[in-house]
Symmetry: C2
Subunit: 657 residues, 2 copies
């Protein structure tokens, strides 16, 4: 081991990015990559336990702690966990494909279902533009410039009771005179109290030369733990002009909210996380204005939905107590804040509206989805499921709503799965066993050579293997099954999905019993969460008249497979609707309608949050759900029937319980 002297500088070169950086000797390699702007996956945020940050040291020396995430073979090859490595000499580091993300695949985002949208709302955006032609001042009428503008607004549009942002005064006199007293005034409704719409006091936030009413835009943003999605909205014409999506730059600091919160507690950690997501937002905005050919100065508002942690970090509010019992957010109703004060590159007059939250794990993204999908408008008993990095479940209708957050674990995002990966190029997302050989047929994202398994693929694989009898109801392989793909591995038995030569990574891609166990825990948590809510109001799953599945992940899921493994309730399939990114949808609709923005506050107030972490019913339901599809066969009548048929139609025993 070379002696580490902290003063010395070392050059690190990253491939295939071809990016270099000079850092102190002894620096952490993962940090160095972040500082160089090179992305390396790090699901656990650098704790060394996830093994997603593997890199190949091509040249030079690191001092690395070895964990059980590295095989002997990998260690010999020079593969190290970046988070466990300190830089000793100048380095050339290669980041293998599975440790990287690809952005291109994000455009797979699905579209919203028109059948599950809020209805009956007025088009009355919180951001408005008014054009006035004012009489120039005379000695007889030399009111102040501001009074003249307000008088003009009152006379022409019957607008009174406006407040004015101080900053508007700074350019007022010049603009009035440069524009020959013809100006466009932008107003914004911010603080809204339910049932007090008549007491709204819109604020004047901007003034522009001449008639700019045709150039009237806003942004809707969904700040997800994994991705940031945005739409640029034309408020004059009431439509979205462009959509853009990028990975949340915070991913480098941990894959889920818990690891982000943990990172935020390091010195400077919160600031780094905030800068990372703001950089992503700025990049999304840049793409949106480029695509839609809109000048950023005509964008006047930001409507933002996200989970509580993402929003607190974006706002620079320490998320520490989100994670610590009893789990309190700083605020559920966020006061208006200037977007630029957060580093977001928009005009200085632009405010950010954050959707109200309900609790630490029930964020504005859920409220936004409920508002956007109109659940709160209908008598119909609805189950709303948002499967993102976390799983949130809402049960209710226009009269009442209960909500819970299920710590499903990261399996749906490919976490805790040996070859798990996020849904990007090369991820196995579809699986079938082709009769009569029962050899697997894989579908991958982008049709590429397989690289790993994403959440959708995992469900498909488990449903397929279970349906074929290769996998038993307890999640153990039926080792009597005649196939060379079943073998004993380090994590119990494993099934080879693709042989090394067929893969992008040059290794056999397998699914292990540990992987399957993680999926069963995840689906059990989500199903038990739904059950807890439904039973808490004295109903059963069969009473549910509509199931709305939100979330990018949700929209690629196969209903039948999901019911087969016991993730979704076994009710008539036509009751299921996929709405894609419900959070973004609600953010867009609230930009179009102040009424819906009001509704968001009302929905947030009407929701009853049920904490599952110490709920006895939930624990009971959870244990009962640790089975494929469920220990209580009556919960899954159609699956039970289908499995019985399959079992009868085969001579071989296919179901090993």
């Amino acid at each position: 081991m070379t002696k580490v002297s902290p003063e010395a500088k070392r050059k690190v070169h990253f491939e295939p990015d071809n990016v270099g950086i000079v850092v102190e000797q002894g620096s952490n390699l993962l940090e160095a990559a972040r500082d160089a702007g090179v992305h390396i996956n790090a699901s656990c945020g650098g704790a060394g336990v996830c093994g997603t940050c593997k890199v190949l040291i091509r040249r030079g020396e690191v001092e690395s702690t070895r964990t059980d995430k590295l095989s002997d073979e990998e260690w010999e090859q020079g593969i190290r966990q970046a988070c466990q490595s300190r830089i000793v000499t100048d380095l050339t580091v290669y980041i293998p494909i599975e440790s990287r993300l690809e952005r291109a695949v994000l455009s797979r985002e699905s579209k919203e279902a028109p059948g599950a949208l809020a209805t009956g709302w007025r088009f009355n955006p919180p951001l408005s533009k008014f054009f006035v032609e004012l009489p120039p001042p005379t000695l007889e009428d030399n009111a102040s410039d501001l009074s003249r503008v307000l008088r003009g607004l009152n006379r022409r549009y019957n607008l009174s009771n406006l407040t004015v942002d101080f900053d508007v005064l700074k350019k007022l006199s010049k603009i009035l005179r440069d524009s020959d007293w013809k100006v466009t005034v932008t107003t914004l409704v911010t603080a809204v109290k339910p049932k007090a719409a008549d007491k709204r006091r819109p604020r004047v936030i901007n003034i522009e030369s001449r008639d700019t009413r045709q150039k009237h835009y806003s942004l809707a943003l969904d700040i997800g733990t994994t991705t940031v999605c945005g739409q640029l909205l034309d408020l004059k014409r009431g439509k979205a002009l462009a959509e853009s999506i990028e990975y949340n730059g915070q991913i480098s600091y941990g894959q889920d909210v818990i690891s982000r919160i943990a990172y935020s507690q390091n010195p400077g950690g919160l600031k780094k996380l905030q800068k990372a997501v703001v950089a992503t937002i700025n990049s999304v905005i840049k793409e949106l204005v480029t695509k839609s050919r809109v000048n950023i100065k005509h964008v006047g508002h930001l409507s933002v939905a996200g989970n509580t942690t993402m929003i607190q970090i974006l706002l620079g509010l320490d998320p520490k107590y989100v994670r610590l019992a009893p789990y309190t957010p700083v605020a559920n109703f966020i006061p208006p804040v200037k977007a630029r004060s957060l580093g977001i590159k928009v005009g200085p007059h632009v405010y950010l509206f954050a959707f109200p939250q309900v609790a630490s794990y029930i964020g504005g993204d859920i409220i936004s989805g409920i508002v956007g999908s109109g659940v709160y408008q209908r008598k119909k008993l609805t189950l709303y499921i948002d499967i993102g990095t976390n799983g949130e479940v809402v049960v209710g209708n226009s009269d009442w709503m209960v909500v819970a957050s299920c710590s499903a674990g990261p399996a749906f995002e490919g976490g805790g799965v040996r070859y798990g990966m996020v849904a990007t190029t090369g991820a196995i997302e579809d699986f079938a066993l082709e009769p009569p050989s029962l050899e697997p047929v894989l579908g991958t994202i982008g049709g590429a050579k397989p690289k790993g398994i994403c959440g959708t693929g995992l469900i498909s694989i488990v449903a397929g293997l279970f349906g074929a009898g290769i996998l038993g109801a307890k999640g153990k392989f039926n080792i009597d099954f005649l196939t060379n793909r079943l073998r004993r591995g380090t994590d119990g038995y494993e099934y080879v999905l693709a042989w090394a030569p067929e893969t992008e990574i040059g290794k056999d891609i397998v699914i292990t019993e540990v992987d399957i166990d993680n999926l069963i825990r995840a689906k059990a948590a989500l199903y038990a969460g739904c059950q807890t809510l439904v039973k808490s109001v004295g109903l059963s799953m069969a009473d549910i008249e509509q199931v709305i599945i939100a979330g990018a992940f949700g929209s690629h899921i196969d209903i039948e497979e999901s019911i087969t493994i016991g993730l979704f309730p076994d009710i008539p399939r036509e009751r299921f609707v996929f709405i894609g990114n419900g959070s973004l949808m609600g953010a867009r609709l609230a930009s179009f309608s102040t009424d819906l923005m009001d509704d968001a506050r009302r929905v947030a107030r009407m929701m009853t949050n049920i904490e599952l972490s110490e709920n006895a019913d939930f624990m009971h339901y959870y244990v009962a759900a640790l089975f494929l599809p469920h220990t209580d066969a009556s919960e899954f009548p159609s699956v039970t029937e289908k499995l019985a048929k399959l079992s009868n139609s085969n001579s071989k025993p296919r179901i090993a319980v």
Copy 2:
């Protein structure tokens, strides 16, 4: 003449300050003094026309344009106008006493008259503090931190309908936990609509650990063209703890608002002026907190009154159109603005409330004075006169008010007068002719050797000379009068007030016919302004039931002398009340009472501004007033009577008309 090469650096040393600065060769000497922080009077803002910036070049060479403000003798001595001089070589520059100001004299500020104060108002400061002890969160009650605070305020104080400043969230969680859930919340009423007090939505602007209700302070400030006065107020006990006053740092850039506005139009001029007044404010605040031993962090609000130009410059708003016909301010009702965003050194949560204005030359200082003195509360017909650098006049009562600004010129401040000076040490402020010799007896500020004549002195001198018959009603000397003090000078005849050996400046101090003419114009403008207002509502001067004289200058004025020269109306003397700094008084009272703050808005709306600059009646009255005391003797019955008596009692003809 030495060749000027702009690249070279030159050292300039100022005496008696003993301060040096290195500047580019060719720099303006007045600018160099400003940059070095050395004050030189410059009434006209550097245009070369006032002659108040004379300096003595002791060593080195300047390139100087000679104006008629310098006598041959002065030129020979090496005296130059700093504003007209460019630096050629290294210099030693002496700033004579008459070109400097002294701060000590400012404490002469007079006290308010208790008989002319707003009455019947409730003590309900716009800034409030509330202490709450909150139950810590539990799993059963894990509302957000903000909801918990708002709930506590509602339960204990029945406060609902609050809005919250975003910045409060930043420290909320930490403070709640560090203080064991015992916190003090500061709220502020900002936007107030008349007759809508029930619709007020106070905003939460700060949160502090534990019970800080005993430490509850605010600041009242009067931003005058010449001085900045402040009071530190204890809002818990309802009293002023300290008072402080300083010359407005903008004086270096010009003595009146017009020259300040002119300077603001230079590149960077507005910014320089803003910084200058902010520096003065910070210095006043520093003295206030030191005197009162208050920690600045417990100061929660700023209530500021000033004329329209001073307020616009303080707020960084270009005052260009204040000066250009038709004289429009940017805004009369100033939205709340964070004091720190202007550079004022107070806590980040502190807002600045600026009194509403009526017009370009009717500022918040007048509204503040009217509110503070309660003119708007009484049926009594009142004439309110504020004699500052400008003269503003209000006539009215609780039902109606008319107001006008009189461009009296700078004579009351010592401007346009050969030996004129502001009211500081050595200024002649009192004058009498001692019988039988009729030799003058001078009273100076601080009892020092005379240095010049301040506004009060000028009135006293003219009244005295006129009363004695040495001066005629047209403002010309009676040259038949037997005294060696009367002589012909460069500006017509002049009267020697003090001989060179008796003075501080080593020169004869005289009053010239030009000086007297300037005073007559000033008093004529003010009196004609009052007349125009009074006549505009069909009344006469005799109908006035109360005269309130505001302004630091006003409070040192002698009523009898002022009536003698025709400045004040000739009505019973007991109707006159001096209130000192009415602007500061109102600013203090509005800090104590939200009701009075509301009233300020109401008063601003009820005032009718009469522009005198193109008013035919005013011109008529003005011309008629260019006489001692007035061409219409019936306007000044008691003066006429007194003069007639004097005239009869003397053998010599004393009044030369």
